[in-house]
Symmetry: C2
Subunit: 221 residues, 2 copies
């Protein structure tokens, strides 16, 4: 049924566009995922989404404790359309809920923090298993809750007076190093089933009036 | 004379602070330099300065053709105080002036651009000589002038639909990869004379009422 729908919807796309979709899908991963805790500057949130999309990170987890996550379309450039955004915003403590859920999915929780007890980016053991990378809010960083629930800490080496990077820069740097390394390994790509589900979403999101088209298709049976 | 002044000004700093200054100076470089062409979003300009400071890039060249460069203090976190900012803003075509000046100083000019004819970041030949990394304005990127005057092109590999990174993210990613590699080589550090000149500037910038102190010191002879 779902396969048939995909074939049907595909017919609305040019061959070139379909090939692009498949090429991008082949580069998607859930081996790494990004968790944003309470970002409040839309330009940062948007820049992080854009970096995730560029680097093939499919899932972005968004914790909204005090700050509602908003995207600046000029900076995100439509990137959220191609990502799975998972929001945590209906509890008192959404940080714990998010981390618990990710642990249940087999992720090790990696807090990105400054400090000497954290692993420098280049020494990070990528082979040790799926990793959820936690990034904290602009001025104060990750909450104590997030840091205390994390399995590991990760830091970008710095050599100046300034003791942290802008949050979206930090995420971009870490993702670039880990994704380039990931691509030299195996087993990081999505399963055929995961690819199919995402492909269907992308088709729905990029075909005009796809809802009507699908309704008609379902009526025909 | 200058050395004596340094010794005098140093006496206003704690030993710990002096050690920090020297440690940071040892990590400074002019082997890589950053050139920003017409950035207009203060949060981007500020985030780039902050990344340069964190990674030990001492000089940042700022081309202002149409847009005046302004810094957002919440994002820059005082980083410009520790950098040498060289501005090009008094001509019709400041891009050509900046690039010509950098070429005269022995820099190869590296345009950071998307596109298949550019060298992927990991393949960039760092050993080929000092490099000035050019970053363009937010929406349209580097001007044709900048690209045509460049000796090389550099690109960050991307795997998604979105075809570029946010500019400050892009600069952070490129600097991180090149600086980590640079630190594994030799000959990238400042000369003793360069260090001394910068050290004096830092002393002046970080001691309260340093102008008065210096005036008094000069009067005493």
């Amino acid at each position: 049924m779902e396969k048939d729908l995909i074939v049907y919807l595909e017919s609305f796309l040019t061959e070139r566009r379909r090939a692009l979709f498949r090429r991008v899908l082949d580069q998607r991963t859930r081996y790494l995922t990004v968790v944003l805790e309470d970002l409040y500057q839309p330009h940062n949130a948007s820049a992080v989404l854009r970096s995730c999309e560029c680097f093939g990170i499919q899932d972005v987890h968004i914790i909204e404790n005090r700050n509602k996550y908003t995207v600046n379309p000029d900076i995100a450039l439509g990137s959220s359309k191609w990502l799975n955004l998972i929001k945590y915003n209906n509890r008192e403590d959404n940080t714990t809920a998010a981390i618990r859920s990710l642990k249940e999915q087999g992720y090790r929780i990696v807090a990105t923090v400054p400090g000497e007890d954290a692993t420098p980016l280049e020494a990070f053991d990528l082979a040790a298993g799926k990793a959820a990378l936690l990034f904290g809010t602009e001025l104060t960083g990750l909450t104590g809750t997030a840091v205390s629930l994390a399995d590991e800490k990760l830091v970008i080496p710095m050599y100046g007076f300034t003791e942290s990077f802008n949050i979206s820069v930090s995420a971009g740097i870490i993702l670039s190093h880990l994704v380039f390394r990931l691509h030299k390994t195996t087993g990081w790509q999505l399963s055929p089933e995961e690819k199919e589900a995402i492909y269907l979403e992308w088709l729905k999101n990029s075909i005009k009036s796809s809802e009507q088209i699908i309704r008609k298709w379902e009526e025909k049976g």
